[in-house]
Symmetry: D2
Subunit: 301 residues, 4 copies
């Protein structure tokens, strides 16, 4: 099929390559002219639909304003029966808004969570999508090319409602947070005690035959073998929106989520120069027990 | 090699089979005469060492009293240069005590954590062991037979100190708790919201190409496909000692362990008929706000 | 002063009494005619401002739709220079919307979090309010009557921005959740171990001289003395919006909130007939280890 | 009564003063001769029992080795019918050992948790004690002098078993951890958002009429008024043994303790220069997503 693709960064660029490798035609647009195939969204849309088929545009830009603005422009450029696919990391609640807006002109909408990172080009991307079956059908050839080969896995229709795909991808990421935290907590303990040696090889041994074997474990083994105590890595982790939204959705639905929320909060703490809440605890301790407060050095000291 | 094996339950029985399939000789003892090859520990020890090699006895009985008592009897039956392997789920602190006791008679000791469950017979067991290299060498042929074939994984010498193997296995189980909790929290959210359908297939799709792919995920998919909302499964989980010991070891070493401890506490709660702590909260709420207490029905009602 | 008061339930009714006891005039409206002084909002507004002073209406109805609808009606009935006070448990993000809407007609808005429960009539209410100083001044006589006597405490201007008061009250409730959870966890442990007797008197002894003394402790002691093991109390707690919003605001601001979130999740779990997430864990355990699943009894059994 | 007192540090010294103020005779020993009344334990014991009454020695030294060693020496110096009181922060499991050892010579033992910190001299100490009634009676006059005046609170017999008092004090401290964490989390959120001003006065206002009023709140208000954002306080908190033991006891008794454990782990994290577990998460993220690792600067840079 012929696909328009907006956003040719690390993810979008690799996806274009994988689609082309599968024989599809991709016309890509990006604000960076070195990456783009055409010099405007309009030119990209112009190139589509030459054979009379619906125009299908895949949006792969940052969630929030960039996605909203791109979809608003596409609404002007596309028409009845065309399709927009949001493959970015949009919040699931945005999808209903975008779908309704596009529907005013008869343009279809499919939301699609994409997992795979830098490995996706080679191994395929896992795709979780939501939307009406007739819309999904229009982009299915691209889905088939992007997904991992030789498996029914990696492709799932999560529901008819807009946002179903992004919701599933969001929860995937929430689960990922707690899995990573699980390995990290276990590693810290093993790395700190005297009783065990050879911690990287302990993790390596777990890759076969154990209950904790996983792809994340494989990745961690590679890193530990290169830097046994991770001395060269700063203990600092960003969080993307999905982890936060997962916990918010859990709260909204009265779903207990102690491990995933703990994983999110651990990331928050890792980014604090000085532990903010602990200032209050130190202050109270000083108040009741004569525990000495550790003063902050004056700035510049 | 010729190995004595004490404890022929689900795990021990399968291990005997796998060892025999690999060409080793196993003399097994169990209190259940239908499972045992000989009718006493003494008879088992008697059968070993016919070719002048050290006698090696693998103990595969419940942690705690049963293991302690078995090792005490073996201390009487074995001699200088022989070896006891504790392959059960002993607490790592027990190992130094057992090793020191056996050393009084010159008997060696190796502790070995074993992972693999009912799948081990076919796929091999992951083995994490601790002890002196010369002792490990005496049981290595059995290790080689038990471990998964065709991989360097599944076998690791965790340290010279007694308990190194059980410590590593303990942390493995702690990690396992939080990984399971991660999937469970994500599943509960997906299962409760209206926006997604088809939750079992969402999990199935994750098995290829995603960050959360793992063996535990594979197992969960099988269960969800058989019972979409797990209506037939009671939300109740036991915990073995390893999860508790992992958190205790973390506390002793000032290692933060929020996700693993949350997973452990979630299991505790799942086993309470009525939520005990929440009684106190309900009582306080009644005290300050006139919130109605939900009374317990009288017994028998 | 003369105040209009909408909502004469447990809280509003007691506040009317405390205001009248202080010499103020209150015209109250409620949908329940047995509680109301007048038979419509319009009649209530009509009664105000006889002396030419601004009309001040205090809204004390459930957060969300009821508050929104009441304020919309008051917008029609009031005019330039009048004031609406939202004393309910509104979410702080609602306040900016209500304030902006009322401002279109020159009507002022103050949001006010109220703490005190059934004890407020006698001891006074703690009031946390937000809004412009000129608006606050119009309702200050009522604030002075409602707050606890003989103390500067119990009354605080949290900021000029609409929502400042409700935000502070929301965080107050979040803190309350974790304080209650703290006592509840400690109580469960003491109640379960054999080593201590006389748990209610242990809690009673803490009321003087200890670090954990508080009003919540006082309340808990009364309940424990009446029912030592709280056998008559079901371990079940509702949560109001404030606890959820506190955690959501924390997530939005990257503030780690492990204890307050744990307290919220504990309430969620207490309301589940069967522990939902634990079904998935039980299912995985059955998959890897031959751990028996506890089946749910068939419905009606 | 005449009491021997071992350990005259901040706590012990103040207790001696309060006992003497109440008219009791105290002979104190400390390794610091400037604090001591006598120059040896033996001299202290020698001074006791002149009127034929049992010799009562209160031990107020650091938990663990110092307490064990002191009690071992007292066992030699005391005799049938005498009494040792352990008023330190001993782990409850130590008490049964010490009691059994002293019982070999007919010496009684009472364990006593003491709360009150630097405020105890003036306001009295809260005492939680365990032991046989006949032993408790021998030290009761001292208990009456140490406890807060004019209240039945502050004094409780927690059980006959040795360790009952220390167990109750331990749980008291566990509760204290989570209460402090509750205020700290709420404060961090209020301190970070733009919507509220005047955070110290918000906390001050809560001291009367609210559900969260407590002595800890009073202390925090004093600190916040002196340093609004606690800029001069480092976000760092030690933990004493009691918090750890509380969580360990909870685990041993299958008591869920999410908030207290979260509070303990938060302290652990606050003491880490670089967040250790987060190194592993950063490493995994680098592995799957091309997320840049923040490298540690080379030492000395």
């Amino acid at each position: 099929m012929h696909l328009g693709l907006v956003g040719l960064g690390k993810m979008g660029g690799n996806m274009r390559t994988r689609l082309r490798n599968a024989g599809h035609t991709v016309t890509g647009f990006d604000f960076n002219p070195e990456l783009a195939d055409v010099d405007s969204l309009a030119a990209m849309v112009e190139a589509l639909g030459a054979d009379g088929s619906p125009k299908v545009v895949w949006v792969m830009v940052p969630a929030g304003d960039a996605t909203r603005s791109t979809i608003a422009q596409l609404k002007d450029l596309l028409g009845e029966g065309d399709l927009v696919v949001d493959g970015g990391n949009s919040k699931y609640t945005d999808d209903a808004i975008n779908a309704a807006s596009l529907a005013e002109k008869g343009i279809g909408f499919v939301d699609c969570g994409v997992s795979g990172g830098v490995w996706g080009l080679q191994n395929g991307y896992a795709l979780m999508y939501g939307g009406a079956g007739c819309d999904v059908a229009k982009v299915m050839p691209a889905f088939e090319a992007l997904k991992p080969a030789d498996t029914p896995d990696g492709l799932v229709h999560c529901g008819e409602k807009p946002g179903a795909g992004h919701f599933a991808k969001m929860v995937h990421n929430g689960i990922e947070y707690a899995m990573m935290q699980a390995y990290a907590e276990g590693w810290e303990l093993l790395d700190k005690v005297d009783i065990v040696d050879n911690v990287p090889e302990i993790f390596a041994s777990w890759r076969t035959g154990t209950v904790v074997r996983s792809w994340l474990l494989d990745l961690l083994v590679d890193q530990l073998r290169a830097d046994e105590h991770l001395d060269g890595v700063r203990g600092y982790a960003e969080d993307s929106g999905e982890g936060r939204w997962t916990v918010e959705a859990a709260i909204e639905n009265a779903v207990p989520m102690p491990a995933i929320s703990a994983s999110l909060f651990a990331r928050f703490v890792s980014r604090q120069e000085d532990d903010h809440a602990m200032k209050a605890i130190a202050a109270m301790r000083a108040g009741f027990g004569g525990h000495a407060i550790q003063s902050m050095p004056p700035a510049g000291a």
